[in-house]
Symmetry: C2
Subunit: 621 residues, 2 copies
């Protein structure tokens, strides 16, 4: 019998206030019940971060965890999971991305890194196998993310190290600051870059030299070949055109957000699509570790107002947020805006959504050039978008107000501006329309981290992407609300599973991979015989722990809602014309599915039934 | 900063009843407070083995732990620690030995192995890095230890695997059955081989492929060279003549046990000494892993009644137990008896002491040839000794009674025989005279596992082996009782430290190594800056946890005593002539030193003061 492959077995703790680092063993009993470090991190956050801990205080924790399959040769299982209390939402903050740092961390012998406290001056962490050093980052402070990553590697003399870092935005506590990896990926959402900034932590650099052991390499390889075989065809559009492959189709089906969610039609859709990108500015494709799809884009502008530019290209969410949502159909400007967001280290979704909010306020006369410092915020003006990104990234002028995120910016602006701030619990709405897919409306309302598309992807069955292993073996109707509570619940659980395993949702949920193969992969890597139903039960447990965390932070039924626009203003045009989101009945059903009481609080008996006895310590209802 | 070198970070659990194996993370917080796995094992035994668990029941646990320095290049740090509830004493059972299995276990990624349950049929464990298998041992059952180790390696096709196993005695639950390693070392005391037998576990085979990381290799190497430099001179007698180097001197000073502790003079001392061994049967020296001393003996008999014999030679304890204690001055017979004990897998100390007890009973007419099955048990008769060893090893005839140990054998024999059974709490007295070194009397009375010389070695300062770092910087008088309670307490604590680190007591306590270098070694390996006083405090904690375990098992003041002979019968001849052990006043002082109440139970406030809050759960006094 092979024993627990895939894990390194140790947890590295760093207290920046004391300048101390500390190692602990991974509790494998807990890992087994929660299938990985995402669940363990959820328990640690519950235990160690109280509601009175401000997200930007030294007492907040930043957890950098690895997926259970991360670093194995399971296809596209390369994710890192960053967790903290979010400065943007004040609740569960989490972002999952494909940084090589996670793979190196596991190779260095750690499944998780927990950062506590605040360094007196800017520092970065250097982890090389057992060697851990808190190093001076004074020379890198103020640098943009890509320069900082490269400079730190040069400073260390370690080309093979993997680095994640924050840009000027994180240093200045922009509430939607991101963490950027040297392989061009962003932990964008929830402002975790600001948490790093509040800790005076510029970067984390890691190099490991061990192999990650796998329980059953032959079985792993067999499943790997099968998944590659299935997905190399089914995911071809991702390879060829990246994640923005579907902009035109989305516009046609009424899924693309336009003009701060007031419209469904966008004439410029074709001009910003992945197909157009491939025909114009695309210079290459970028694959994450152990991925055969390579949906990442690499773009190059040699002429025009945004040249020269060479670097990672925009994803679908970015294209929509900085494009159609702001009525911008200039792909080169979107590429430039994306590059700026990455260099400053700010989330492109929240950035685009906050700019769209500002544009609507400007159009409605709620703000004027006096407020914006002279910038005319006309819909679709690429110069205005780029100027605002620079101001947000530096937290200067009007950018300082927007850098608080749309919810807080609306409060500061006043004059009913909150009506146009499109967020749930402070997190800006991502780029899939809840008018078109009602399940996305429910999902946004109840997602663990505020409005999130990735913690559910519940529109898949209505888009004809079936998941028979979950019981979704026929195409659903996105416009109806029947059965959507169950759909959202199951899709959330499976997304918690995929995140926990460190796997890519595109490959595993879009590509037609039988989901039971996820369980087989997990069995092959860990050596623990596991079925899909076991994984899903663990996914439900993880969701529940995060819900308990959120309820402790004050989340109640009133917060499980959507911007009034979605509830009250029917969509004006396009395929979803005339629709609003009928949230209430879905929400009621959903609470019953989840075992929540009328206020949205997990019932004690449900917690016990799920085997989460320890968590009852943290409920006082 | 380097993080926790020396540890693998994982704990392997095997449930033989269910056929399941399981991995957990090492709790480094606990390790730090207890400086290693001996302390962690103590906590696990407290938590998981209740007083109602019979030592030979499937519910008893067998813990195979490694020392904190084990497997590093720290000189002579190569020990494995086996822990269980002892079938011989019913209390804390522990044995420390230099098996390579421990080093391989750590290289395979585990700091400890915890075995639970009972296999349905004979099995052995095969651990190769992450691969763990419970394998059929039917073909090896009944084999002697050396044959079994070799056969298992052949069966696995793994010459480089390290194996420990039990012999026929362990299989048959001889209460002082040992565990023998393929490098010829014995975990002799407390009958842990019978615990393996009760679990149907013939052997544990391990092979690991990882390097054991060390925090500061340069510092480690510097200390290593210093220790080698110091000890290569001071330990020369150990190299040349082995541990029985001092038989003649011991006899002269009154330390050698003779004729079941009734005498001090032994005319045959010279004939069984290490010097004589070197002149006659010695064929080579054997070093444990990373030891430059090589006190282990390898002997060869080519002629005479015990030829042919080639193998590991007897240690001092064996030479005395099977020699002077039984009035036997035939070195070749001792070598044969030692080889038989190892092959059957029985502890040479308990074996010799139980045979001496039987000889005294025979002399006194308490037993006769009818009881012994025709064997005349005349003092010093090598044939009788060898015959009894064979009967004990096979649990046949009179051997079946002796195989229960001297305490239980005396009960079965009755007729006041217990007066001549020389044990404390069931564990037979080792070979250093409490008449000559009163501190050894106290030490035997209060040692964690019953009469033990190695959990204290408190006679060192009276033998002129000074330990200035512990405050013992002048030669003490072994015949007095003043200050001996403090001496025993401190020496017990330092022995807990040395055991916990997996270091060799000979090299570190006999060789003149400044003891603060132990702390430096620990710091260099783990990366945790540690001073000697921190180590000693941890040593005290470990002792206390084991005391709590023992008190839960029923140990009280009445058990902290010595055989009446030592208390009441003055030594008849030799250097200690006229002496008895004045135990009571030493014991009273010792209880005060340790924070025990008048019944010998640890006081709650003492436990809390030591930072062992969790342990108060296990006290009901």
């Amino acid at each position: 019998m092979w024993m627990v492959g895939g894990f390194a077995g140790k947890v590295l703790r760093v207290d920046l206030s004391r300048g101390e680092t500390y190692v602990d063993g991974l509790n494998f009993s807990l890992v087994k019940s929660l299938i990985g470090c995402l669940g363990v991190a959820s328990k640690i956050m519950l235990e160690e971060v109280d509601p009175d801990v401000d997200p930007l205080s030294p007492k907040n924790k930043l957890i950098y965890a690895t997926g259970s399959l991360t670093g194995s040769t399971a296809p596209a299982a390369n994710k890192s999971i960053v967790v903290s209390r979010s400065p943007l939402t004040g609740i569960w903050g989490e972002s999952v991305f494909s940084a090589n740092t996670g793979i190196e961390l596991k190779r260095a012998g750690y499944d998780m890194l927990i950062v506590d406290g605040r360094a007196e001056k800017p520092v970065y962490l250097w982890i090389s196998d057992g060697y851990v050093e808190i190093k001076d980052a004074g020379g890198f402070w103020g640098m943009d993310t890509f320069s900082a990553c490269e400079s730190i590697k040069r400073d260390l003399g370690e080309k093979r190290a993997a680095v994640v870092c924050i840009g000027p935005a994180g240093e200045r506590f922009v509430r939607f600051a991101s963490i950027i990896s040297d392989n061009g990926r962003a932990a964008g959402r929830c402002g975790l870059g600001a948490v790093m900034g509040s800790k005076n932590l510029k970067a984390i650099a890691v190099k490991g030299s061990r192999n990650i052991e796998v329980a059953n390499p032959d079985l792993l390889n067999e499943i790997r070949m099968e998944i590659i075989e299935i997905t190399k065809e089914s995911m071809k559009a991702f390879s060829d055109y990246g994640t923005s492959r579907g902009v035109v189709a989305f516009e046609e089906m009424g899924n693309l957000p336009v003009k701060n969610w007031t419209r469904g039609r966008f004439p410029g859709a074709e001009k910003i699509s992945g197909i157009r990108m491939a025909e114009t500015i695309l210079a290459g494709r970028k694959a994450c570790f152990a991925c055969h799809i390579a949906c990442g884009r690499y773009v190059k502008l040699s002429e025009g107002p945004y040249a020269p530019l060479e670097g990672y290209g925009p994803e679908y969410e970015t294209v929509a947020a900085l494009g159609s949502l702001c009525m911008n159909d200039n792909l080169e400007a979107i590429a430039k805006a994306n590059d700026l967001c990455n260099r400053f280290g700010i989330d492109t979704i929240s950035t685009g959504a906050t700019i769209a909010f500002a544009m609507e306020c400007y159009e409605r006369g709620i703000i004027s050039k006096e407020d914006t410092g002279g910038i005319e915020l006309r819909w679709g003006d690429p110069e205005a978008i780029i100027r605002l990104i620079e101001l947000i990234g530096r937290k200067e002028g009007f950018g300082a107000i927007l850098s608080e995120g749309s919810m807080r910016a609306a409060e500061k602006i006043g004059r009913n501006a909150e009506r146009y701030a499109m967020h749930v619990k402070g997190l800006e709405i991502p780029m899939h329309s809840p008018y078109r897919f009602k399940e996305m409306g429910l999902q946004y309302a109840v997602s663990e981290r505020g409005a999130c598309h990735l913690r559910g992807l519940s529109m898949l069955p209505a888009r004809g992407i079936l998941l028979p292993d979950l019981g979704f073996n026929r195409k659903l109707d996105g416009f109806t609300i029947e059965g959507k509570a169950h759909l959202v619940k199951v899709m959330q659980d499976v997304c918690r599973v995929v995140d926990s395993l460190g796997a890519c949702k595109f490959v595993y949920l879009f590509g037609g991979v039988p989901l039971r193969r996820l369980a087989d992969l997990y069995s092959a890597v860990t050596g623990w015989e596991t079925e899909l139903k076991d994984l899903l039960r663990a996914g439900e447990r993880i969701w529940m722990l995060q819900r308990i965390f959120n309820v402790r932070m004050g989340v109640r039924r009133r917060d499980d809602t959507l911007p009034k626009r979605f509830l009250e203003e029917p969509m004006g045009d396009g395929a979803a014309r005339g629709h609003v989101v009928e949230l209430e009945p879905m929400l009621r059903e959903y609470y019953a599915e989840r075992g929540l009481d009328e206020e949205g609080r997990p019932r004690r008996e449900k917690i016990l039934e799920m085997g989460l006895d320890f968590a009852t310590k943290y409920i006082d209802w």
